[in-house]
């Protein structure tokens, strides 16, 4: 697969200014994004299940450049959402799609290996991962250390692409599994739910990594979590300020979150940042039959309306 990807990338250099792909990070367990501008740089390329990052996040800021980008199934939804919202010029992007069997959550691997420094990590054909530390070798299964999104992934093959590297894969995961956790959470009492969020959000250190990692958080330096005018939240480290920050993130993503999970991957405190957005997505699906990042012709449901809303009933007191 790596070899085929290398060939495809080598073939697009003449068409674009920059290629977004992956390279080795500071140790064996980490892969980082790389920006390749010259054909020689292709030697840096890495492709394996550690390539979890959603590289499409860079596309809006490179809107005026010609860019080739390597995408997995879930990443491609971000591109579709960008198209729906007019945030990229599709003709400036060459999408190199790769059907995906799942990626690795670095945190889960570190948890399995008791945070020992990783000497080496290799990947087998059927999702086995051997991890070598000073304490010895351990075999893990991809299905045990993948992020939650991969366990219910409906779109392993990119939805849009210009080149496809490898054969398309169809999902074998039940569509009902996607929001099973959300529905389960709704079985809790109101009191339990409030307690859950208070506990989770209280750990937030407001580093804003979740926001910075989110491809759909497009306000960047004008984020209302930091503006003084309007002054939505202060710098005080209180639960209500943290809660409010999460409400800002969730409501600005309402009906736009592509569920790429970058927010949770970035969070140093293990906060389920994606959960509120997924709850809203479930509602948008039930109310308007809408799913973000699936069809470039769609319009996000809160950007539009119908004069007669068949699914919204008037509320009585």
């Amino acid at each position: 697969m790596s070899q085929r990807l290398r060939e495809v990338i080598a073939g697009v250099f003449s068409e674009v200014d920059v290629v977004l792909a992956y390279q080795q990070g500071f140790d064996k367990l980490h892969v980082t994004p790389c920006f390749m501008t010259m054909p020689e740089e292709i030697n840096k390329l890495v492709w394996n299940p550690l390539c979890a990052h959603n590289l499409t996040s860079y596309l809006p800021s490179l809107k005026k450049k010609k860019v080739a980008v390597v995408v997995k199934g879930c990443d491609s939804r971000t591109i579709v959402q960008f198209m729906e919202e007019g945030l990229i010029n599709r003709e400036n992007v060459v999408i190199i799609g790769i059907p995906c069997n799942g990626v690795i959550s670095v945190n889960k691997v570190l948890h399995e290996t008791n945070h020992e420094p990783i000497e080496d990590i290799t990947f087998g054909e059927n999702g086995e991962i051997s991890v070598k530390t000073l304490k010895g070798e351990k075999t893990l299964l991809l299905s045990d250390v993948c992020p939650d999104k991969c366990k219910t992934c409906q779109y392993p093959t990119p939805i849009v692409y210009d080149r496809l590297v490898g054969d398309p894969i169809t999902s074998d995961k039940s569509p009902d599994s996607v929001y099973a956790d959300i529905k389960e959470f709704e079985n809790k009492t109101l009191e339990e739910r409030l307690q859950y969020w208070e506990q989770e959000f209280d750990r937030c250190i407001r580093c804003y990594a979740c926001r910075n990692a989110c491809p759909m958080c497009i306000c960047q330096d004008s984020c209302i979590a930091e503006t003084r005018d309007p002054h939505w939240i202060s710098q005080r480290s209180t639960l209500s300020e943290k809660f409010m920050f999460h409400m800002i993130h969730a409501l600005h993503l309402a009906g736009r979150c592509v569920e790429c999970g970058e927010c949770e991957r970035a969070c140093p405190m293990g906060i389920p940042v994606n959960k509120l957005k997924r709850k809203i997505n479930l509602d948008m699906k039930e109310l308007f039959g809408y799913e973000p990042g699936i069809n470039p012709e769609d319009k996000p449901p809160l950007y539009t309306f119908k004069v007669d809303e068949a699914t919204i009933k008037e509320h009585k007191i």
Binding site: F185, E186, L190, E191, E192, R193, L194, Q195, Y196, W197, W232, S240, F243, M244, M247, I248, A250, L251, A254, G255, L276, K279, I280, D283, M284, L287, P301, L302, F305, K306, V307, E309, I312, E314, H315, I317
Partner: protein, 143 residues
């Protein structure tokens, strides 16, 4: 306990300038008796009501929030309330997920001539919020 129940609660109302604020005014001019828990914030249009206004109110001490705009098809700006309807419905469904009783938030449509309907809505909503009690009881109990 009875002490708290009898106390006035904090209810914030976001009313559009053209219809519901007029409706509230009509009720006032007609001297309809209304509960006094409601604090009205006049907005140009229900479409101006960012769902974050409601969340911010609830997180910062309000016990209930009421949003009221022009009836669908009657918006002064043609379609502001159509957008509002989708956003407010989204929020209505999100609140219980956060552990906040959705009955603390109500949105409705009241025109400038509907003074009696306004009176009824405020009375009923205030009654409901009183039944639910203060949202921040726990925090207030332990200063």
């Amino acid at each position: 306990m009875s002490d708290i129940a009898a106390r006035e609660l904090r209810i914030v109302g976001f009313l559009c300038n053209w219809c519901s604020y007029g409706g509230a005014d009509t009720a006032g001019v007609s001297r309809f008796k209304q509960p006094t828990d409601l604090r009205i914030i006049r907005v140009p249009c229900s479409g101006r009501v960012d769902p974050l206004f409601i969340v911010k109110a609830l997180l910062n001490g309000a016990d209930g929030v009421l949003v009221s705009g022009c009836h669908p098809r009657d918006c002064h700006y043609t379609d502001g309330n159509f957008y509002a309807r989708r956003r407010l419905e989204m929020l209505k469904r999100l609140l219980p997920f956060l552990g906040i009783d959705e009955r603390r938030f109500h949105y409705t449509w009241i025109s400038a001539s509907e003074g009696a309907r306004w009176q009824q809505t405020v009375t009923d909503f205030t009654k409901r919020v009183h039944e639910l009690g203060p949202l921040h009881a726990r925090k207030e109990a332990t200063p």
